[in-house]
């Protein structure tokens, strides 16, 4: 899978939620937060797939 760039359109309220989450210290900026969300979701799905009967 090659690197890629995705254009993420967010309205003001969605941006506000991301900005407040960034302000909590989870990531240094919006893009980093989006990438963190992606990685954590992938890890979580992989973990749940491993534990599935």
């Amino acid at each position: 899978m090659t690197r890629r760039t995705i254009a993420l359109a967010l309205n003001d309220q969605q941006l506000e939620l991301l900005d407040r989450t960034v302000a909590r210290g989870l990531a240094p900026d919006r893009v980093a937060l989006v990438r963190l969300a992606l990685r954590e979701m992938a890890e979580k799905r992989a973990a749940s797939a491993e534990t599935a009967p």
């Binding site: 939620l17 969300a37 799905r45």
Partner: protein, 310 residues
Amino acid sequence: MSGREILFEHVLEPGTGKAIELLAGQILRIEQVAGGQCVDFNCFNLHDYKEYMHCGRTRTVHGFNPSKGTFLWSQPPRERALVYILEDTYGRNDVLFPRCSAYLYESAYGFSDHTNCNDIQAEAQREYGLTPDDVHDSFNLFMCTEVTPDGAATITRQTSKAGDHVDLLALVDLLAIPNVCGADIMRTSNFALKPVRLTVFAATEADLAAVPPTPILKSQRTPKDFKVPAIKATRELVRDPAYVPAFTNVPLGETVIEVDLDEAEAAAFEALRLGLYGDDEGAALRDIVFSWWEERFMKASSGAPAIGDR
């Protein structure tokens, strides 16, 4: 619980309801006399009837079967806990079905007149000047309902016994209106109508201490926050020529963020993206981000915010 002072006792006969002033700190016990009887319950803020128990809000927070340890909420934008369910010995209630109405019995059974919860509620609350239009969907105690996998809602028979009861603790001053459900030709109350005992107690310190805290938020608005604070007193709806829309946060601007993904992240994106969005990668990524946020920060697994998730 022992030590509670009894303030009021009443037996609801079949076909009847009773409007009761239930002040904050008082408990209304609704108790089976013979067993197997569904009871509909409504309540209003005693000092502002425009605030009332809202099944939709309650259902969102607590699911289809609110029971011991949950709240009955008022409608948006009030959205505060009006009642705490302190005890529930049977454990089956319903906020999925509306109150039964005269239309049901006429359309399905051919009755021109028949006991029904809407009319019983209306008659009981008439004691306080409320009209049939003021009846709202009810909290249905001892009512067994299910949602089937295909999404249909069904009613089943019930097995509550004499003495089974639900204790409702008022958190604000209320007009509380329980009624014996009028459905004698439905399975709701096992095809029979039975009396129900009502008892109002003064809550003890232990009762009050059992109530979990609920948040007080800016969004819980009251008439002092409304652009139209007065209650409309005429039936006809007439346009206000001076009306200027003032919707919250409108117009909503949009910002596009360019998100560079490395190879691993791109692979993760491909694995997580939903087919729902087709070729729209931005929409798929937005879904992933806010789904992550829900799972990371919200307590409600349903995706519906609950009491206070922050």
